[in-house]
Amino acid sequence: ARGDRPLFQELSFALAPGEMVHVQGANGSGKTTLLRTACGLSQPAAGEVRWDGISIHKLSDEYREKLCYVGHTNGIQGDLSAVENLRFGTCVGGAGSHAEISTALEQVGLTRVARLPAKLLSQGQKRRLALARLFVLARPLWVLDEPFTALDVRFCGVMNERLAAHLAQGGLVLITSHQELPLTAGGRRISLDH
C-alpha cells in the first residue's frame, strides 16, 4: 500500500521460467509499486513475495543474485562516463568484465558516446545505458518498469528481440509498459485496473 491506501488487493500471480508477465494499468494503478515490491525494495502491507516457494526476505542475498531491476530512474551518475557507469552498475551486481561491458555498450549503440559524461546523454541514451546492465549481468529474472520510455522506434525493436531471446533461454520477465508488447510464447498480461 502506498500512503495508507491499499492499491491492489488479492492480486496473486506466479512466474514460470521462460514466462513474461506484462503488468498493465492506468497511470497510478500501482505498477511501479508492484514491481518495487517484487524486488523487495518496498514491503507489502499484506502478503509476501516468494521465490521457489521461499519468502524473498528469508533468502535476501540469494534472491538478489537472481534479479536485475531497471526502474523509472536509470541509476546513472551524470559525472561518470557511460562506461564507468555500466562498470559500476555491474560490479555492484557482482559481475562484468571489460569485454562484456564494451559488447553491451555496442549492443545498445552507445559506443560513440561511451566516454561522454552521462549527464550529457539524452533521455533515450540514458535509458539505453540503464538497460545495458541487463545484458552484462545475465540474471534469470528481469524486472523492467517502462523500459521503452524515450527509446526510439529502432531500439524498441532491438529490445523486443532481446526480451524474446531471454525468454527463450528460460529467463523470467516482469515488465510494465503502456505500449503493446509483441507477446511471444509464454507472455501473459495482468491488469491493475478495477
Binding site: L41, S42, T73, Q77, D79, V92, G93, G94
Partner: protein, 226 residues
C-alpha cells in the same frame, strides 16, 4: 558470484573517489567553508591574539563539525536522485559493507583533508604550537566518527525536502561529545595539561561508531527507499 565481497567494496570506494576527482569543487568547498568560517571569527570577535588564543580550539572544532556536516549531502543525495542507491540495495552483497565503503571514501575526501588543512588555520587563530600536535591527532581520531554518525543522518533524510539543513539538526546534537573532548583536549594541551584521557575517550567513540554506524546507516537507507 564472479567477484567476492571485498573487490565489490573496493569498486564502490574507488568509484566515489573518481567522482570526487571529477568534481574537485565538491571536495574543495567544505574545506574552503572550514577556512572561511574560522576566518570569520576574528572579524566578528576582534583581532586580539589573547582572545583568539582562548577561542582557537572551540572555533576550529565547531568549524570542523559544520563543514563535515555540509559535506554529508554528497554522501547519498545524488545516488538517491538518480537511482544508483536502489541498485546498491539490490546488490547481492551485504549493504552494510557497501555503505561502509562509501563512508570511508567520504572520510578520505572530507575529514582527512580537514586534518591536513587545520594547522594553517590554527596558526591564524594563534593556537599555541605545543597544542598543534594534539589538534591533529584529535581530528584524526574524531573526523571518522563525524563521517560515521553523519552518514546515519544523511541516510535518514534522503530525498526529504530541506534535507541539507535537517541533517545538521539530527547530527549536530550527536556530535557534542566529540566536540567537547576534541576541543577539551586541545585546550588542555594548550594549557600544558595531560591529554591521555581525552584521546582514549575519542578512541572509544571511534570504535563504537565503527561497529554501530554502518549498520544503522544501511537500515536507514532501506527505510528511506521503501
Amino acid at each position: 558470484m564472479s567477484q567476492n565481497l571485498l573487490s565489490t567494496a573496493r569498486c564502490v570506494f574507488q568509484r566515489d573517489l573518481i567522482l570526487a576527482a571529477r568534481k574537485p569543487a565538491d571536495v574543495a568547498t567544505p574545506l574552503v567553508f572550514f577556512a572561511i568560517v574560522t576566518s570569520l571569527f576574528p572579524l566578528g570577535v576582534g583581532p586580539e591574539p589573547a582572545v583568539l588564543r582562548i577561542l582557537a580550539p572551540g572555533v576550529l572544532w565547531v568549524a570542523a563539525l559544520l563543514s563535515t556536516m555540509l559535506s554529508l549531502g554528497r554522501l547519498f543525495a545524488s545516488d538517491h536522485a538518480d537511482g544508483t542507491l536502489e541498485q546498491l540495495t539490490l546488490s547481492p552483497h551485504p549493504l552494510t559493507i557497501l555503505v561502509f565503503a562509501k563512508i570511508a571514501a567520504h572520510w578520505v575526501t572530507s575529514g582527512l583533508l580537514l586534518v591536513v588543512l587545520s594547522p594553517i588555520l590554527a596558526i591564524q587563530m594563534h593556537l599555541p604550537t605545543q597544542a598543534m600536535g594534539t589538534l591533529i591527532i584529535t581530528l584524526l581520531l574524531a573526523t571518522p566518527v563525524l563521517s560515521l554518525l553523519g552518514s546515519v543522518g544523511a541516510a535518514l533524510t534522503l530525498g526529504v525536502r530541506g534535507g541539507g539543513v535537517l541533517v545538521s539538526l539530527l547530527v549536530l546534537p550527536l556530535y557534542t561529545p566529540i566536540l567537547i573532548f576534541g576541543a577539551g583536549a586541545v585546550t588542555a594541551s594548550a594549557t600544558g595539561l595531560d591529554t591521555e584521557a581525552y584521546l582514549s575517550l575519542l578512541g572509544a567513540f571511534l570504535v563504537l561508531a565503527l561497529g554501530f554506524a554502518p549498520w544503522a546507516t544501511a537500515a536507514a537507507l532501506r527505510i528511506s527507499l521503501d
